[in-house]
């Protein structure tokens, strides 16, 4: 009540309470109480905001805030109790609609009440630490309406029932659901959780547990995963439409657990449709789905990875140990490449290029490629095939692709030095027979090997290329000098090979035909004239010759190996010869001779010699005759030595022995290097360090390492410690 006069203004002393007319407080409260009733009865239009605000203001100003506040609480409670009673009548969806409507009404009323009581909210409530008006209104709603015993259960059950119906395919009123859950959130996160979310998650877990059981028994893996994915997306969509976003991760966890985690192993190992079947049939979509779903579940992907890895290992192992496959090295390697391509594609398309899967694939390949000791040889043969004819006419980029794939396989090899040995052999044959499809491709591969293994690996290979070039120049020089003299003699073409660079085995000198000897000697003197202090030896097991031969039918030009030339030239002076006689005349080693005779007499279309008896095997007394009746539609007939084949068993053993021999000095060098740096070291550590140093070339055998150490001790590079027999010391 404001003063109208200028003086006589009373201010209450701080000790006494001078109560203004108590009836004033009652009167004012009555006005406000009435207003609240009107508001709840949807009769607010007739009220004056200013009047009500002023009255509330005055009550608080005159220290009647407490009365106002408690009156407010009582009045609201009364109305909410009425509402609560009216809600008891309705059930199910109608119940929700009623709740929703009454809630909207209550909020509107609360807003109006708060506006009127704003002064109390600002001043009285903070100082007395009471609950502000709006919050009070929410709390009363929660306690009186929502948590009344019947309403709480009914609300929860109705919500869950509607969700169940929607899960079973019915369309429900999502807007209504949205409003109700939003109401619960407004009442407090814990209300949302306790009254709804907790139960929702429980019920959902049961639902999905049952459903997953049903599906597992009736669907195959791919279908099941589709269904699981659908349900998962459905739940996410459900949350976005009418649940609080905080529920999303919780419900997805439930679905993941019930539909995926509980059945992981069953799904992966399902007969006829599980992971292995998907891999075999390249089912990219199904695999992608499995990856995405299992990704969500702890340990899900590791199971997929495990099963895939063991399957790849088994497949690979079968591949490399299958005796049929081993007959054709090029096919063998091609199948390996195909296998890698297949799984690269799967990992790229379905597994999002997941690095752990890539690693598993790599380790599997490394595992089974090295199960077959002939893998290095076969890979070299594959390269050889490609460089001889496989890459003929292939564009530059595609060549690179193939070579890169070869390098990829090369990296998996543990015995890279074995590969090196074979590669050298095959390269030498290619160079010497001029049978390489593309010089650029050869060089490109060497560069790749150099990048991978260092220059030592490739320095000798490069030496081979140099020799080829130099030889060209040398021959030109020879004919420039001596061209006139050689007139009648057969035309000579020579490759001069530096001994260290080429993988040649010393060949015993065979008897060259007299017609050849002359020009050969002329070349030898020419060469030694210009290169002092060198020694030349003819490699008769490696050359070729072109012979003009006259048969009954026609003349043919035969392209043969040097050995074959020696054999055929004999028939210029004899009609028939036994194997033994030929051997004596030519001094060609017997095994080579047999192969040579076979290729001359036993191959259809190339049988310039006739053999008696007609069998494929060569016995000492078999007789050979010049085959006058030989015909061929080609004028030029190639009877050269067979392409680099896979070695026979004895050759294989020989090569391996040589490799082992080569390894010894490498191991010794490594030991010395290590000991020089460390001075003293115990046995186990030496073995570890040596293995580490050499593993880019091969895996050293600990037994061999031990032997080498002992050899070094004998040669006084190292000594054993007198007290500890396992400790070694470097002797400077």
């Amino acid at each position: 009540m404001s003063a109208q006069k200028k003086r006589g203004f009373q201010i209450e002393a701080f000790k006494h309470r001078v109560v203004v007319d108590p009836k004033y407080a009652d009167k004012t409260w009555k006005v406000l109480e009435h207003a609240i009733h009107e508001i709840y009865n949807h009769n607010a239009s007739g009220l004056s905001f200013e009047e009500l605000y002023r009255n509330a203001y005055n009550m608080v100003l005159h220290k009647f805030g407490e009365k106002l506040y408690s009156g407010l609480a009582m009045t609201m409670t009364y109305h909410l109790k009425e509402i609560s009673k009216s809600l008891e009548a309705s059930q199910g969806e109608i119940f929700l609609e009623e709740v929703n409507r009454k809630w909207a009404d209550h909020n509107k009323a609360l807003q109006m009440i708060r506006d009127i009581l704003m002064y109390m909210d600002r001043t009285f409530i903070p100082s007395t630490h009471k609950t502000p008006v709006h919050e009070l209104g929410l709390n009363l709603w929660r306690d009186v309406v929502i948590h009344s015993s019947k309403a709480q259960a009914r609300l929860r059950d109705t919500l869950l029932d509607l969700i169940l119906r929607e899960r079973n395919g019915e369309v429900i009123n999502r807007g209504l659901m949205r409003n109700i859950t939003k109401m619960l959130m407004d009442l407090g996160y814990s209300v949302y959780q306790d009254d709804f979310e907790k139960h929702f998650l429980e019920v959902s877990a049961d639902f999905y547990c049952l459903e997953s059981q049903k599906f597992i028994e009736s669907c195959d893996c791919g279908d099941y995963l589709k269904k699981a994915e659908r349900r998962l997306n459905e739940e996410i969509e459900r949350v976005s439409h009418y649940l609080d976003s905080s529920s999303e991760s919780k419900i997805t966890n439930v679905v993941e657990k019930e539909m995926i985690e509980s059945h992981m192993l069953t799904l992966v190992h399902m007969e006829n449709s599980g992971l292995v079947n998907m891999l075999v049939d390249d089912k990219y979509e199904d695999l992608g789905r499995m990856y995405n779903l299992f990704h969500r579940v702890p340990a899900g992907l590791s199971i997929v990875k495990e099963v895939m890895t063991s399957y790849i290992r088994d497949t690979g192992k079968q591949l490399v140990t299958d005796p049929d496959r081993l007959r054709d090295p090029v096919d063998f390697v091609q199948r390996l490449l195909d296998l890698k391509d297949k799984y690269d594609k799967i990992i790229a398309l379905a597994f999002h290029n997941d690095k752990t899967f890539q690693n598993a694939l790599n380790s599997s390949f490394e595992y089974f490629i090295n199960l077959n000791v002939r893998s290095p040889e076969f890979i070299s043969l594959f390269v050889d095939d490609k460089l001889r004819r496989g890459l003929k006419g292939v564009g530059e980029e595609d060549v690179e692709v193939v070579l890169d794939k070869v390098m990829m396989l090369f990296r998996y090899l543990q015995e890279k030095d074995v590969f090196e040995k074979y590669y050298k052999q095959h390269l030498a044959k290619r160079l010497l027979s001029g049978k390489t499809v593309s010089d650029d491709a050869e060089r490109s591969l060497i560069v790749k090997l150099k990048t991978e293994c260092g220059y030592q690996f490739t320095s000798k290979l490069e030496g081979m290329f140099t020799d080829m070039k130099t030889s060209e120049d040398t021959i030109q020089g020879f004919y420039a000098c001596h061209g006139a003299e050689t007139g009648d003699s057969p035309t000579l073409s020579v490759h001069v090979l530096t001994t260290g660079s080429w993988p040649t085995q010393p060949s015993p000198q065979c008897n060259l035909p007299v017609e050849i000897l002359g020009v050969c000697e002329k070349f030898r003197s020419y060469y030694l004239g210009t290169h002092n202090g060198r020694r030349l030896s003819w490699q008769t097991n490696m050359g070729t010759a072109d012979l003009k031969a006259t048969f009954k039918g026609q003349k043919h030009e035969l392209n043969v190996s040097t050995y074959q030339m020696c054999v055929l030239m004999l028939f210029n002076n004899a009609d028939g010869l036994t194997c033994k006689e030929i051997e004596q005349a030519t001094r060609i080693p017997l095994s080579d001779l047999k192969r040579c005779l076979q290729s001359l007499a036993c191959v259809k279309g190339k049988n310039v010699l006739r053999k008696e008896p007609m069998s494929k095997d060569i016995a000492e007394d078999d007789a050979f005759f010049f085959n006058d009746k030989f015909t061929s539609k080609f004028i030029k007939v190639k009877i050269g030595t067979v392409v680099a084949q896979r070695e026979s068993e004895p050759e294989n053993i020989e090569t391996r022995q040589r490799v082992e021999e080569d390894r010894k000095p490498q191991i010794e060098a490594a030991i010395v290097r290590i000991m020089k740096a460390r001075r003293t070291l115990d046995h186990n550590n030496i073995v570890t360090e040596v293995t580490k140093q050499l593993q880019s070339r091969f895996l050293p055998n600990p037994v061999v390492i031990k032997k080498r150490i002992e050899s070094l001790i004998e040669r006084e590079f190292l000594e054993r410690d007198k007290l500890d027999r396992k400790l070694y010391r470097y002797l400077a």
Partner: protein, 166 residues
């Protein structure tokens, strides 16, 4: 919101009507709230404030609204450096009124939620009290001394420090 050219009408407890611009009305949070909620159409009743006080409040609101407008216009150039000080001087003069009116101004400022006016007017009253003896204060505010002599003596001795002349 409406531009400052619009005006509203407020009605005092005596029934007198006062016109004020929107900008001036915005000085009072209560008026602003009522306008936001209920619109500008009707006259705004403010029955807790009498005409004499209302007139003073109107004057204050207008002055401060104009001051703000000037500040916004030139980015402060029109006001100049001494602008704020000038306003303060104006406020001080404005509040040099008789106590009764001053007290009513305080109540009106509280009711209408005009913070700056509430602060300055309370400060003015505080200045009146500062440095005065209890007797002087009683004189100014017409307060009855309701202590018994014993109570007063006790209070004085307990709060000895406050009565020391410095």
């Amino acid at each position: 919101m409406a531009s400052s050219s619009k005006t509203i009408t407020v009605v005092s407890s005596d029934g007198d009507e006062f016109e004020m611009t929107m900008k001036a009305a915005e000085q009072s949070k209560l008026i602003t709230h009522m306008l936001d909620e209920f619109g500008v159409s009707d006259k705004v009743p403010l029955y807790n404030v009498n005409s004499e006080t209302m007139a003073k409040v109107m004057e204050y609101c207008k002055k401060h609204a104009d001051h703000e407008a000037a500040k916004e216009e030139d980015g402060g150039a029109a006001i100049g450096a001494g602008g704020e000080e000038e306003l303060k001087k104006w406020d001080d003069e404005f509040l040099k009124v008789e106590n009764g009116l001053l007290f009513n101004i305080i109540l009106a400022a509280n009711y209408l939620e005009i913070k700056s006016l509430l602060d300055s007017s309370c400060q003015a009253v505080a200045d009146m009290i500062k440095g005065k003896t209890p007797e002087q204060i009683r004189e100014i505010f017409n307060i009855k001394n309701d202590f018994t002599p014993e109570e007063e003596a006790k209070l004085r001795s307990e709060n000895e420090w406050a009565f020391q002349e410095d």
